[in-house]
Amino acid sequence: MTGNLYLDLLISFGGVAVLVGVSFLLGAWKSATVDEAAACERLDFDEPDFRPGEWLFSHDGSAAVAISQDGAEAAFVFALGDGLATRRVKLGAVEVKSEGDKVAARLRDPSKWSLKLAAGSPEEAVRWAGRLSG
C-alpha cells in the first residue's frame, strides 16, 4: 500500500465502506421474519431431536420460542439479518421474566446475551415467563 499505516487504514476503511454501500444499494439489507414455517424449518435442521410443543411467536416477527413436548426444554429461534439461529436450553436454566407485554430471556450466550419476545399482552407475557422459568 502506501507505507503510511494511518493512510493505509483510511483507504482500507474506505474500501469496506464502498463495498457495504454497494451491497446496501443492491438490496442486500434484509431481515428474516420468524414465522411458524421458518422457525420449524430452522429448528428441525439445528435440533432434529427436539420435539416442539407449544410455540410463542413474537408479534414483531423477530423471534419465537417453543417448549418441548416433554416440558423439559425450550428452544429459542431468532433472526439475524436474513438468517435464523437457535438456542436450546433446559427449562429453568435461563432467567426469564415478563416486562410489560414482552418476555425477556437472559440466554447468557456470548453472542446472544438476551432476547425479548412480544407476547401480545402482559398476561401472556407473565404466563410465558412462568412457563419458561420452569
Binding site: 474500501g15 463495498l19 451491497s23 443492491l26 439489507w29 420449524c40 428441525d44 420435539r51 439475524l80 439461529a85
Partner: protein, 313 residues
C-alpha cells in the same frame, strides 16, 4: 542468495474488491446465492482487523522465530522456480493439517470459528478472518518447514499465494469444474467444507489441493440433492466483529472457570469442539452419529414428518 518476494496479498487487495463487486452484481441479476449487508460488513471488518492484528507484535515474533530456525536448517533450498513450487505444495500439505486441527481441537477452533461464523457463502466470507491464533499456527506448523530449509520469505510468499487461491473458491456463483475437481480445491469442495449439514461436517480441509483430503479420508463431494447450509452448529446472534472474534474464547474461559477438575479444564480447552464431561453438548462426531441414527430410524419407520414439523399440541 537473494530471497526477495513481493507482498502478494497486499497486491491482490484491489482484485479482491473488484471480484466482490462483480459477484454482488452477478448475485443481483441471478439471485443465486445470498448476500446480506450487515453480514458482509462484519466479514470485511474481520478481514481488515486480521491485517491489523499482526502489527501488535505477533508478526514480528513469528518472523524472528523463523529467522532463528533458519540457522539450523537441514538443507539449503535455493531460490529457484522449482523450489517455489515445492514450497507451495509442502506448505499446502502443512495447511491441510493446520486446518484440520483447527476444526478438531477447540483451542484452535476458537480462532478459526470466526471464518465459519457467517451463514452466507460469498467472496466476503473469504475475508472473514481471525484476529487471534494465526501466530500459534504459524509457529507450530510452519517452523518445521523452515528447519527443513525453506527460506522464511519464500514460505510467506507461498502462504500468500495459497491465501489468494482460497479467496475465489468462496462463491456459490461457480458450479463444478470438471476434471479440476480431482486435484484442486474448488468452490464446490469448499462449499461442503463450510456447510453444517451433518453429511458435510469435518470434510474438505484442503487449501489449494484437494488431494490431501482424498489421501487422508476427509473428502466429501457436494451433492445435488443436498444443498449446503452454511454457518456453525450454534449460529451466532450478532454481527459485532469483536464478539465474533472473541466469543469462543469467552466460552472456553467460562467453561474452564466452571470446570470441576484439571482434566475437565483440559478437555474444555483441547478436546473436540462441543466436548463436555457429561456428554450434554454435541461434538461434530456426535451430530453425525445422531444423524445416521435418525436416518436409519427414518428408513424403517413410517413416513412421519420430522419432529419439529409435527403440529404443536
Amino acid at each position: 542468495m537473494d530471497m526477495t518476494f513481493p507482498d502478494v496479498v497486499t497486491l491482490a487487495v484491489p482484485g479482491f474488491v473488484l471480484l466482490v463487486l462483480i459477484e454482488m452484481a452477478v448475485w443481483r441479476v441471478t439471485r443465486r446465492g445470498r448476500y446480506e449487508t450487515r453480514d458482509s460488513a462484519a466479514s470485511l471488518l474481520m478481514g481488515l482487523g486480521s491485517q491489523i492484528a499482526p502489527l501488535f507484535g505477533g508478526g514480528a515474533l513469528v518472523f524472528a522465530v523463523y529467522v532463528w530456525a533458519y540457522q539450523y536448517r537441514l538443507f539449503d533450498i535455493p531460490n529457484t522456480w522449482w523450489a517455489v513450487v515445492l514450497a507451495f505444495v509442502v506448505d499446502d500439505f502443512r495447511y491441510y493439517w493446520w486446518h484440520r486441527i483447527s476444526h478438531e481441537r477447540r483451542w484452535f477452533w476458537a480462532s478459526h470459528i470466526v471464518h465459519h461464523s457467517s451463514q452466507h457463502y460469498n467472496l466476503t466470507t473469504a475475508l472473514r478472518q481471525t484476529w487471534t491464533g494465526q501466530i500459534i499456527g504459524s509457529l507450530l506448523f510452519k517452523t518445521p518447514l523452515v528447519f527443513l530449509g525453506f527460506h522464511p520469505a519464500m514460505l510467506i510468499f507461498v502462504g500468500g499465494l495459497n491465501l489468494i487461491y482460497q479467496f475465489w473458491i468462496h462463491t456459490e456463483q461457480i458450479g463444478r469444474m470438471g476434471p479440476l475437481e480431482w486435484i484442486f480445491n474448488t468452490p464446490s469442495h469448499h462449499r461442503v467444507h463450510h456447510a453444517t449439514n451433518p453429511r458435510y461436517l469435518d470434510a474438505n480441509y484442503a487449501g489449494a489441493l484437494i488431494i490431501w483430503d482424498r489421501m487422508f479420508g476427509t473428502f466429501v463431494p457436494e451433492r445435488d440433492d443436498e444443498k449446503p447450509r452454511y454457518g456453525i452448529i450454534k449460529n451466532l446472534g450478532t454481527f459485532n466483529p469483536f464478539v465474533i472474534s472473541f466469543h469462543e474464547w469467552f466460552g472456553i474461559a467460562r467453561d474452564v472457570k466452571n470446570a470441576k477438575s484439571a482434566r475437565e479444564a483440559f478437555g474444555y480447552m483441547f478436546g473436540a469442539p462441543g466436548w463436555s464431561p457429561d456428554g450434554s453438548r454435541l461434538t461434530s462426531k456426535m451430530i453425525k452419529d445422531r444423524w445416521n441414527r435418525m436416518r436409519g430410524e427414518g428408513a424403517t419407520a413410517s413416513a412421519d414428518p420430522p419432529p419439529a414439523l409435527q403440529p404443536a399440541e
